[in-house]
Structures are given as structure tokens and as C-alpha cells.
Amino acid sequence: MGAHKILLLAAEDAFEFERWREAGPVTAEIDPETAAAEIVEYEALGLPLPRELDGLRRELEFAPAVREAIRSSTSVLRRNGRAEVSALVGLGPQGMLPWGAGGLDPRLLMMMDPRMAAQAGMPAEPRTRPSDSRAKSDSRRAGRATVVVEPERDLASPAPSPARGGAVEPELVDEPDDDDRDDDDDRDDEFEPPPRQRRASPPAARARKPDRARARASDPDEDDDDSLVAIRPAPSRDQTNTIILAAVSLVAVLALLWIAFGKDDQEPVVAQAGATPLPVVNPPVQPAPQAQVQPLAVVDPMLSDPAPASDPRPVRTGGLRGSSSSVGVASKPAAGGVNPFASYNAAVADGKPAAAGGPTPAPAPTPTPAPAEAVPAPAEAVPAPAPAPEPLPEPELTKSKMTPPIREAITNKVGDLQRCYNDALVGKPDLEGRVVFTISIDQDGVVKKVDVSKDAVGYGVASCASKKIRGWTLPSAGIPIIFDLPFDFQQPKG
């Protein structure tokens, strides 16, 4: 590299720095771009930031351009639901590792350009063959020094490694292949997430290696051999799906039965509650709910989290994003042990429903009302052995008034709407009237939804203006709010 190029690099560095200039003394060891991207991902997922990132965000947001970039990317990721919790949880820092000639992560190489992958000497097929479990465990032993590309995994969401700082529990990223049991556990434990207790096999079986073969023979579901896992999908998934579907349909039938036959008895139940124990009024219906109390408790919260059970890919975060209730999140670690995510439940439950946005898989709303009616009676009839988790009601947002800062911010942005109006005026010079927008903003002030509740103007002004409003970020009110924004489009006087 010549002197000329190095001098140009100095200029490039100075020019690039301009966008960070007001961002405070960002320490040199931190790469502000990757840190900003990580902040964006946390915020898009509605997860509280780890402490060091939170401090860094405050530092970065000194620069208005950076603040704006973080906000706009957050809203883009939220809108599309493309943030990936697995990328934050399973990976931690993904080092650009010494791999092949290029010294570059093969996943990224493949994303960039196949030619570059070829230049770096990367084979076209994944490096580790499914049967090569030895190589796999070796590469894991090397921890971050090697990345194994697995056939089933998405390129952009690579193999799991220990969760960083306990930000989110690894259990949430439900990886289907239960291959975290290798023969030499003592060396793997350092790099792998804690083994899950999902299988029925006792932990002692892991210590006694000779017994494992017997255990595997006796348990057809035991698939801790890496090669088996990589080649074929776990057969138990279909069964699980079937069981879940059966349970869901059973609950629906029971709910219908309860609505059909149980409604008449509801008033007497309330009336006589203080008097005498209620005789069994509807014997055909009552025993079934008793039998189904347990499935209800399992199925109901998980309705919002179907992905971990059915989705063979470990990286999609529909499960987490869909499960806005803390119940769904909290019920998993019961099987898995420690739950570092527990302290986040409240925040997720509070903030998420509004923040989730995007194409969130939300199967919950349909079946929820029926169980909500159906559950109380069985719960009264049977002293519930395990308290059935009640589905958290969606926080009902009522319309509120604009706060003064929001009003001021909107006043500053009125030009956007005016432009829409001016464009329409060209086609119809006497155009005017009132449009009322109903705007929902989240706790960060990001506009989540814009409805037009009244449109007396027409000519596409309202839809154009809604589109502009959707791009706004308003001052945060601290909580998600909905408010009306009436707007009178009038022709300029004179």
C-alpha cells in the first residue's frame, strides 16, 4: 500500500468520524457501529439493555444523527419483526475468526459473495458433515475459534454459544437438535449452554457412560448422537404437534360445551357461593374440565409460543416475540433450571405488546377468550394442584391527550403533512377539510400505528399523511399511548 493510499485512509477516517463526533468519548475498544446495531436489536425486541450497552447508548445518542439512526433502524426492525433474539442470546459476540485464508466468518462470507468464499478457500458445502461428530465437538472445544456451519441453520443466525451476561435465557432459543451432550462433557461445559432437562432421562445417566447405550436402547426418543440429530428431524416433533393440536381442539370443544351448558349455572354458583357447597349441577360436563385442568395450564400460555415446539429451526424468534405474556416465558425455565430472564418478565410483558409490532405470529387472541370463561368453574370445582396461570390481559390502551412535548414535536413536523396537501391541491384547487388521525406510539415515542378516524378531505391526502406520520418518532411519554390528532387542511389565505 502506497503513501498515497494511507494518506487517503487518514482522510476517510476523519470524514467517517464526523457522524460520531458528538457522540461523546466512545472508548476506542468499542466498535460504535456494532454496539449501535446491538442496541437496536435489543430495543426492537423490547428487551432491556445490559448495563454496559445502556451507558453506551446514552453516550452514542449525544449525536443527533446517531440517535436518529438508532431510532429509525429500531422501528424498521420492529415493523418487520426481523430482530433476532437468538443472535443476541445464542451467540454473544461473533468473532470474525481465523478461518481459512480469508480470516472471515464463513457465514458472512457466504452472505457476501460466493466468489469471495471461493477465494477464501471455503468449500461450497458445509464444512462439517453430519456424521462427523468428532469434528463438531472439536470445533466446539475451540469455542469461538471455529464456527461450524450446520445444514439446518440459517446463515444469518448461527450456532449457539454461551449467552452473554445472562441477558436472555438460552432456553428461549429453542434449538431442536438436542445435541449438547457430547461424550466428553467436562470439556464442553465450558462453551455450551447448560444441558436442558427436557428429556426424561435422569442426569445421572450422563455421568455413567456405559449406561448410555442401554439408556438409548430403552428410550427411543434419546437422540443425543450428533450424527442422528443432524440427519433426520426428531420424530417426536410430530407427536408433540399432534398432542398440542389435540389439546387445543379439546380445550375448544370444552369451552363450547361450557358456553352451551354451563352458562345457566353460573348465576346460581355466584348466588350460593356463600351458602352451601354447590351440588354437581352438570355431571356430564364437570368431570371433563377436571381432567383437562393440566392441559389447560400447559396449552394456554404456550398458544402464544408455538414455535419452539414445532419449528425445527432454532433461530426464529417468533416464540419470544409472540409470547407477550410473562407466563409463557416463565413456564419454560421450570424445566430448564435457572432463569436469568426472570427479572425481565415484567418489562417484557409491559412494554412488548405495543412494541412487538410487525408480523408477530399471534395465535393467542382467538382461543384466549374461551378458556378465560371456561377456566374459573373447574378451578372452583377442583382445588387446583398447580395454580393455572391466567393469561395476562392485553393492556387496554385508552386514548389520551397529546402531551405538550408531543404537540410541539408534531407542530414542527406539520410540514410533512402540508406537503401531502399541497400535492393534492394541484389536482383539486379547492380542496380542504378536516382529517383526524389516531396515532399509537410506543414507550419510546416511535409511531406504531396510524388510523384515519375521519377524512373530510379525500384525494389521498389522509393516506399520504398517514404514511409520513408512520415515520415519525415523537418525544416519549414513558408509556405507550394513543391519541387523536385532528388536522385542518385549509388553503393558504390570500
Binding site: 476517510e12 477516517d13 467517517e16 439512526a69 429509525s72 433502524s73 433476532e84 443476541l88 480470516g103 458472512l108
Partner: protein
């Protein structure tokens, strides 16, 4: 694939003159893709979180440089794209010479180190200015004794001065 991702992000970010533009935006996507590839393949680069989040943020941080607002002064690397690079290199050398007389000892040292790097660094294998700037810490014994925060502050002052002096020269 990376190009597709960049294109998708450009559409989503609502960048004036870009996001609503018809066509495939190749003239914007390709330079961005090349820069992104260089960024991702830098030796000290460490991706945290998903690639999509990184690309989205990376593009959003360059919004000022991408937005086609008539009459606005170009910023970021577009400043470099629009100038005579030979002249710019000469101007940088001139400014660095000037900064070797700065009152700030760290800035002086950084300017000296940059110039030394330019003179001797024929085999320096760096792909970006940021990467090169980070290298200065190991290149100079004085700077290597600084803590990360001290070095960051020094670098910050130096970059600001260099950018300011270059802008005075019309760049």
C-alpha cells in the same frame, strides 16, 4: 445476498430520494455492498447480534450521506467520491505536517505516526481508515502507553482537527 439485504434495508429506511426511487438502485447498492464487505472483513470486526440489525444500522448511520437532498453539502465518504483523490492525498499530507506542530501532544504524536506510516507502510494491510487509526496505538510507543479512554479522546481530537483542516482546504 448481502446486496439484497442492503437493497431491502434501503427500501425500508425511508431515505429521501432513495427509498421511494423506482428501479433496482444498483448504483447505490453496489458501492454500499463493497464498503460493507470491507467493513465485515476487517480483522478486528466482531458482529454482535444479527447481520440484519447490523446492516440496517450501518445503512441508517449513513443516511446523511445517502439522502439526495439538492443543494446539501456532501458528507462522509461521498466527500471523497467527489474530489480529486491525488489532490486530497496531498492536502492530507499538508495538514498532517501542520498538525505535527499542534499544542496538543497527543495530536502531535498521532500526526507524526500517520506520516511515518505513510512513509514506511508500504506493506501495511489495512482496508479502512478506522482500522488504520486503531493501528496507530500499537505503532507509537507513546500512544500505546495510553489507556483506551485516553487514546479514544486523543483520536477524537485528532480526527476532528484533521476533518476541520481539510474542510478549510475545500474538501
Amino acid at each position: 445476498m448481502l446486496g439484497e439485504l442492503v437493497r431491502e434495508v434501503l427500501r425500508e429506511l425511508d431515505i429521501a430520494g432513495i427509498s421511494e426511487a423506482r428501479g433496482r438502485l444498483e448504483h447505490v447498492v453496489e458501492p454500499l455492498r463493497i464498503r460493507l464487505v470491507l467493513r465485515l472483513s476487517a480483522p478486528d470486526f466482531e458482529l454482535r447480534g444479527s447481520l440484519r440489525a447490523f446492516v440496517t444500522t450501518w445503512v441508517a448511520l449513513r443516511r446523511d450521506e445517502l439522502e439526495l437532498v439538492p443543494g446539501e453539502r456532501p458528507t462522509g465518504l461521498r466527500r471523497m467520491a467527489q474530489v480529486d483523490l491525488v489532490g486530497l492525498a496531498r492536502a492530507v499530507a499538508e495538514v498532517l505536517e501542520g498538525l505535527t506542530h499542534s499544542h496538543n501532544p497527543d495530536v502531535r504524536e498521532l500526526a507524526h505516526t500517520w506520516l511515518a506510516l505513510a512513509e514506511e507502510g508500504v506493506d501495511v494491510d489495512v482496508r479502512s481508515g478506522v482500522e488504520c487509526a486503531r493501528m496507530l496505538k500499537t505503532a507509537s510507543p507513546m500512544l500505546s502507553r495510553r489507556s483506551e479512554a485516553e487514546f479514544a479522546n486523543a483520536l477524537r481530537a485528532f480526527r476532528t482537527m484533521l476533518g476541520f483542516e481539510l474542510s478549510k482546504l475545500g474538501y
